[in-house]
């Protein structure tokens, strides 16, 4: 019995110590920020959420990261909940750039500043209410992909696009890609555009079908790395690796590795780190009363084999 009391005391002491140490190391708790993105099962957004949490903690803010699960109504409800809880700010990555406007208006009416990242809100009225936006320049990234595709194919032959027409940023990538080809009078012929649903499995299936219908294509542009890798698997299965070159998008770790292994020719790079930190920084600057730019577009960059050789992030990063 006596021993038991001793153990209890010890445990209490440890808990007390832990509490004390946690009090001293952390900055004072200031408040909560609501963050909702289109899909937290996508590692890209999971990474952004984690980085945001890390960065905001430095200033004493907690980030509540929720997933819109590709459902605009669900995300709208989440925004309502943030408003009801009167959070200090909302970081929004709209599932649907049009319907998110209503939630933004609600937040504005309640005096909560909204910052968007990655995808913009396109409802004109709501867009005026946004404090600032930070995101990749997807259109410019698409142009880079177009440039690479023209270069690697020698601007001759038929190509296919594996797209994701449900998502605005991916539509912009395809637009940039096509516009680049058009402006440079490319003789590349886009024979088909089908949805790979943004993931490996579906991209594999759809590319297999593309290869059945168009066996002579020389290149495939896939709007993100999972799609590109799915497409790669299909091309490999069909023994057409020598004939077909693949261009992805994102330069995710898996994508970087694929570029390094020469599975992909190029994967225009997005910078989730800059995006996450930039959003938190925008909020802090807002609180400091500084002037903020309305839009902050991060330009994408090519990611070729030469870039991958000396890139430490290729192995180290996880998303």
């Amino acid at each position: 019995m006596k021993q038991k009391a001793g153990t209890t005391k010890l445990i209490l002491c440890i808990i007390l110590l832990a509490l004390l140490s946690s009090c001293t190391s952390k900055p004072k708790f200031k408040g909560k920020i609501g963050m909702t993105c289109m899909d937290l099962t996508n590692p890209f957004f999971k990474l952004i959420a984690n980085l945001m949490q890390e960065e905001a903690a430095k200033y004493g803010y907690d980030i509540v990261a929720l997933s819109g699960d590709q459902d605009p109504a669900k995300q709208n409800n989440q925004l309502s909940d943030f408003v009801a809880q009167s959070y200090d700010a909302i970081f929004l990555n709209p599932v649907d750039s049009k319907s998110a406007g209503e939630g933004v208006k609600k937040a504005y009416a309640a005096g909560i500043p909204v910052f968007t990242f990655d995808v913009q809100v396109t409802d004109e009225e709501a867009n005026r209410l946004i404090i600032s936006h930070i995101g990749s320049d997807n259109y410019q990234g698409g142009r880079l992909a177009g440039e690479s595709m023209m270069k690697v194919t020698g601007d001759r032959g038929k190509i296919a696009i594996v797209n994701l027409p449900e998502v605005t940023s991916c539509i912009l990538r395809v637009d940039g890609f096509k516009d680049y080809l058009k402006e440079h009078n490319s003789s590349l012929q886009i024979v088909t555009e089908l949805s790979g649903k943004g993931n490996r499995n579906d991209a594999y299936a759809v590319t297999t079908d593309i290869l059945q219908a168009h066996p002579a294509i020389v290149g495939i542009f896939a709007i993100n790395d999972p799609s590109a890798l799915g497409a790669y698997a299909a091309v490999k299965k069909a023994n057409k690796l020598n004939q077909i070159t693949l261009v992805g998008f994102d330069a995710s770790p898996a994508g970087k590795q694929a570029v390094f292994e020469k599975k992909l020719y190029d994967s225009p790079q997005q910078f989730p780190r800059k995006m996450a930190k930039g959003t938190v920084q925008a909020f802090i600057k807002y609180l400091e009363g500084e002037d903020l730019p309305k839009n902050n577009f991060i330009r994408c960059a090519h990611y070729y084999y030469d870039d991958s050789v000396s890139d430490p992030g290729r192995v180290k990063e996880q998303w």
Partner: protein, 443 residues
């Protein structure tokens, strides 16, 4: 199940207890008193309000009261932190110094105010005053209770139809997709009939088009189930896939946002201070309740679910009843789609994904049996509330998305288990056994 709901409400009320700013008139009186005691009438007093928050009228009123008290040198800032910074810069440039900055709770977090000493060393004598606060749960704030109703309305409307389908022993998986079909068809019709500049009646035409298209689809599904005995699960699964694809086809994958100004009225507007959605829900549930418990057709629905053969032999037109419930379910889903389009002021083809499962969960939590024959409309309403209160409460508590799904699943299972145990008497049996054993031990 009512007790589960009440328990959840209590739980979230306790968990979301937070310091809230004092009611403004009392807080203002307090601050005015404090300031007039400590400062001279000629001192510069700055009142600050954060944009669109309660602190705006607060700052205005505070300034007026101070001026009444004889403070001649007051300034007010209303807006975002940047506005305060500009004002402070301005004061600094004019060579004066604010003696006191008075504001309510939400402004105090602005870093420009927090780091006042660092950024404006010349204002070292300036004091920042805020009123006292009191504890009140976020969950019970008026704005949050309205947010809950806002989120349940679509599911609640659809759950009426689903309850009827489930009472006949069927199931309707297509409602989620039909939300999208209705919203998309409705908004496309509105767009074609003039879009942004269209008159108010166009909205009604759009709604009717959306709801009727769903009704027709539902009628076809019901016909397959009733006439050819295709299992409802398969029939509605097929419709679910077709509906979703159709919605994407109609819009080409984009959202339809060129809609008349009157569209948000249904989902966001209010009449006599009550949200229209609440009024509509109230009447729909009253009507559905009376229909199910007091009309011949309503009783027939129970009869078909209880025992189809017996119902047929006693003269119930079984096929007619089955087609009827699927039409009602689809019409309800169509109405749900219109409400959602109105809430979001857009028609989007990915609306309502997974809603069929939430609706079915709500109906089952509400006490309907999936094997048919039993269930109550008002029970369904409670089931809907249980599910949305959990979702809302978890968001308020800031629980992570992944965890939320686990908790929601567990609560649904737990609620149904509890209900089963209660209705079959297992719970009271177990309890009385326990009591008896305790009693025996005492003796």
């Amino acid at each position: 199940m009512v007790f589960v709901l009440i328990g959840l409400c209590l739980l979230f009320s306790v968990l979301t207890l937070k310091e809230q700013a004092l009611e403004s008139s009392r807080a203002i009186g307090q601050l005015v008193e404090q300031i007039s005691k400590a400062y001279r009438k000629s001192d510069l007093v700055l009142t600050v309000g954060a944009f669109n928050k309660e602190s705006v009228p607060f700052a205005k009123q505070l300034r007026e009261e101070l001026e009444k008290e004889g403070f001649s040198n007051t300034r007010m800032v209303v807006g975002i932190p940047r506005d305060l910074r500009l004002t402070l810069d301005d004061i600094k440039a004019s060579g004066s110094e604010p003696a006191v900055i008075a504001t309510s709770g939400d402004v105090i977090k602005w870093r420009v105010l927090e780091r006042l000493g660092e950024k404006y060393p010349e204002f070292s004598g300036c004091e920042v005053l805020i009123p006292e606060s009191y504890p009140w749960p976020d969950f019970l704030k008026r704005s949050n209770l309205l947010a809950i109703v806002d989120r349940i309305v679509v599911i609640a409307v659809i759950a009426i139809g689903m309850t009827m389908v489930i009472i006949t022993g069927g199931i309707d998986l297509s409602v989620g997709s039909l939300i999208a079909v209705s919203a998309v068809i409705g908004t496309v019709v509105m767009k074609k009939l003039g879009g942004l500049a269209a008159a108010d009646w166009v909205v009604l035409v759009g709604f009717i088009a959306g709801i009727l298209s769903c009704g027709i689809i539902g009628g076809l599904g019901g016909f397959l189930v009733a006439r050819f005995k295709v299992p409802p699960f398969i029939t509605t699964l097929g419709i679910m896939l077709m509906g979703r694809g159709l919605a994407f086809m109609i819009t080409g994958g984009f959202s339809i946002y060129q809609v008349p100004k009157a569209l948000p009225w249904l989902g966001q507007g209010t009449s006599v201070g009550i949200p229209n959605t609440v009024i509509m829900l109230f009447f729909l549930y009253i009507i559905a309740h009376i229909f199910m418990s007091h009309t011949r057709l309503g009783r027939h629905i129970y009869a078909v679910g209880g025992n189809q053969e017996a119902a047929r032999l006693s003269g119930v037109s079984v096929q007619y009843v089955i087609v009827f419930v699927y039409i009602i379910s689809s019409l309800a889903a169509g109405l749900g789609g219109c409400i959602q389009a109105s809430q979001l002021n857009t028609g989007t083809p990915n609306m309502g994904v997974m809603y069929e499962l939430y609706v079915i969960a709500a109906v089952v939590v509400g006490g309907s049996s999936l094997s048919g024959g039993s269930g109550r409309i008002l029970g369904t309403l409670i089931g809907v509330f249980v599910i949305s209160v959990i979702q809302n409460g978890m968001n308020l508590l800031g629980i992570e998305s992944y965890t939320q799904q686990v908790v929601l699943g567990l609560v649904i299972l737990g609620a149904v288990l509890l209900d089963k145990a209660r209705s079959s008497g297992a719970l009271s049996g177990a309890l009385s056994k326990k009591v008896r054993s305790v009693y025996r031990r005492r003796n």
